[in-house]
């Protein structure tokens, strides 16, 4: 962002509408018009883009605000609450989402960080290129394909049940590329002088990476992880294939179904009854709030991530 502010400070003296350049035949009416037109177009685009986005956010807050403002929402599950009844909470789904996210992070962070280390510190030649390309492909994999793949592996091939852990595996696939890419950038920002200094002291490469490179970019990596988590938490498609909803608290990843916020949204949507529809919006707002908090946390940690050179 600092580049931006530099321009903004230096731009005014050079861009004013004062007709300095006119004598040089520089700014004809047409050019000035086009400039103004572009300005108008940009403003319009911004406003147009904002309308639906703010509308969605507003609708969610208005329709979901009331239900999540109750204590029950944050302390009870939906056990015993059928679609036509009001009441109950979302604790079961919040827990499921958090547990799955935590486990997903636990699996994908080491793999993602190590892959990034490989790409930045070790990778040379064809293999590195291919790996980097594969990370790109993984970034673009639709979540439903990830879900189908895990289904094909976990259920059809290995014959296991659909459980919370299978969902974590699918989410891991979606999270790894995010972690790799963000970590990679952070590692690239570590000045080579630091590495050189370390090598010069006779520190082996792996120790240099563990003690110098990663710590230097640590908070940046954490930011990337949190932002990656925020993305996978909102995924619904793989959950529909692998982790159907249930209304009760379930914290065991390896046995039975585990409710999550996205599946709670989907389930309540399909009930098509007012109490359920209220819960749909409530669960959506809850999910947005959780993701928002993660985003804020990521940004907050990111403040300290500037690599000192």
């Amino acid at each position: 962002m600092s580049t931006l502010s530099t321009v903004d400070e230096s731009a005014p003296p050079t861009t004013p509408a004062t007709p300095v350049g006119d004598d040089f035949g520089g700014r004809s009416g047409g050019r000035a018009f086009r400039d103004q037109l572009a300005r108008v177009v940009m403003w319009t685009a911004f406003v147009v883009a904002l309308i639906p986005l703010v509308w969605i956010l507003g609708a969610t807050i208005v329709k979901g605000g009331q239900i999540i403002a109750s204590v029950d929402w944050w302390s009870l599950s939906q056990s015993g609450i059928t679609a036509r009844r009001e009441g109950g909470g979302a604790v079961h789904a919040i827990q499921g989402t958090l547990i799955q996210a935590a486990v997903t992070a636990l699996i994908s962070v080491p793999i993602g960080v190590l892959t990034a280390v490989y790409l930045v510190e070790y990778g040379r030649g064809r293999l590195a290129k291919v790996v980097s390309f594969m990370v790109d492909i993984l970034t673009g994999i639709p979540s439903i394909v990830a879900g189908l793949f895990i289904y094909a592996l976990w259920v059809t091939t290995l014959g296991f049940q659909r459980i919370g852990f299978a969902v974590c595996l699918a989410l891991t696939m979606l999270m790894i590329p995010t972690v790799v890419r963000s970590t990679e950038e952070m590692l690239k920002l570590v000045p080579n002088e630091l590495r050189e200094a370390s090598y010069a002291l006779g520190v082996p490469k792996w120790k240099t990476i563990m003690k110098i490179v990663i710590p230097t970019s640590f908070s940046g990596i954490v930011t990337g992880v949190l932002l990656g988590l925020a993305r996978v938490m909102g995924e619904t498609a793989p959950l529909i294939i692998l982790g159907p909803y249930t209304a009760v608290i379930a914290t065991n990843l390896f046995d039975g179904l585990m409710p999550t916020l996205p599946t709670m949204i989907y389930q309540n949507y399909s009930e098509n009854l007012q109490p359920a529809i209220d819960r749909t919006w409530g669960a959506a707002l809850t999910l947005i709030l959780i993701i928002f908090v993660l985003n804020i946390a990521g940004r907050f940690i990111g403040r300290f991530s500037k690599v000192k050179s």
């Binding site: 931006l4 509308w55 790109d136 439903i144 592996l153 920002l189 490469k205």
Partner: protein, 356 residues
């Protein structure tokens, strides 16, 4: 060590967090024609032979290979599970419009699914890419100082809204306002088969509206990535243009956009990937065609995308034959996104080489 002593950091004024897209982890740097394309310090010799190094290096390489293996496995597994069903398929998988994957004589093909997937995605791209780029330009170049940070945060926040909410909103809230839009388009352009609106399905259940919702969904993604790239245009380029007497728009056209082009392409491709694979918003909105309906070129027709078809029947994967058919559909979707991403990569690489 000859090529190892790379001059230190790239683009010093960058702040750490702003480098990485908050949504995707996709990095701006990745797309930039970097001034310093050299790899980071080569220090293999510093580590030769030591046990710790071998283990750690092995782990790192192993992780890289794991990622490689993962993608390969995805392809492999989908193929393996799809093939038996494809062999039993009585219809031509590539040219049939039918979708009856179960029973003794399964008949299924992807024509309708492919059409709906591509049409909705293209509509989404047509709207989201220009708009997203314009918003990104606005935030980085035009917005007054007090606005640009909050605007950027707002857009990022919207990327966090779960996709199902977009679909729900489209169906319950916004859908009704699309009816007049469709009617007007039909009146003006209805003589073209692409824009014929017959009223069935209702406007909010058409491919066109699904495309619009997808556009709204991927808009924050396109904006976020473009914004990061635009904010990294070297000040010197911009000031240079302005110093030569360019208007702000001309500066943007000659300095900002060319610099950001690879980033825009990559943002568009990422957005396209999302649009192709988006599931729930589309499932909620689209009206499926009945089996005997004639093929229609109209964007105001109904249909189902790969993803919505798969998600819709996810509860009914009760035989290997049927599951295989859906996995085959998933495989086509995977290939589609693979091609899109690979193409993006090629375009960006070529550009990089060109600018260097």
């Amino acid at each position: 060590m000859a090529d190892g002593l790379a001059p230190s950091p790239l683009l010093p004024p960058l702040e750490g967090t702003d480098l990485v897209s908050s949504i995707t982890g996709h990095s701006a740097i990745d797309e930039l024609p970097s001034g310093d394309g050299r790899p980071p310090l080569e220090a293999d010799r510093a580590g030769t032979g030591r046990l710790g190094d071998r283990i750690f290096g092995g782990l790192a390489t192993g992780s890289g290979i794991l990622v490689l293996a993962l993608v390969t496995l995805v392809g492999l597994f989908l193929v393996i599970q799809a093939v038996p069903s494809l062999l039993n398929n009585e219809a031509n998988f590539l040219t049939s419009r039918e979708w009856v994957p179960s029973g003794a004589q399964p008949r299924f093909g992807i024509v309708d699914l492919l059409w709906a997937t591509i049409v909705t995605s293209i509509i989404a791209m047509f709207i989201a890419v220009p708009l997203g780029v314009a918003v990104a330009l606005f935030i980085t170049q035009y917005a007054p100082g007090w606005l640009n940070k909050p605007a950027a945060t707002l857009v990022d926040l919207l990327a966090a809204v779960p996709s199902i909410v977009y679909g729900f909103w489209g169906l319950q809230v916004a859908g009704q306002y699309f009816e007049p839009v469709a009617t007007v388009i039909d009146r003006v352009l209805g003589w073209l088969p692409f824009f014929e609106y017959t009223g069935t399905p209702s406007a909010k259940s058409t491919l066109a509206f699904a495309g619009v919702i997808l556009a709204i969904m991927i808009l924050p993604i396109v904006t976020a990535i473009s914004r990061e790239v635009f904010s990294q245009v070297p000040t010197a380029h911009k000031e240079g243009a302005l110093a030569l007497g360019a208007t702000k728009w001309e500066m943007i056209r000659t300095a900002v956009i060319p610099f950001g082009k690879p980033g825009i392409i990559s943002a568009a491709m990422l957005g396209l990937g999302r649009a192709l694979g988006e599931t729930l918003a589309v499932t909620l909105l689209l009206s499926a065609l009945n089996t005997s309906s004639a093929f229609s070129f109209s964007i105001f027709g109904g249909g189902e995308t790969f993803a919505s078809r798969i998600a819709n029947d996810a509860g009914e994967f009760d035989s290997a034959q049927k599951t295989g058919a859906y996995i085959a559909a998933g495989l086509v979707l995977f290939l589609l996104t693979f091609i899109v991403n690979a193409a993006a990569r090629v375009v960006i690489e070529r550009r990089k080489a060109f600018t260097e």
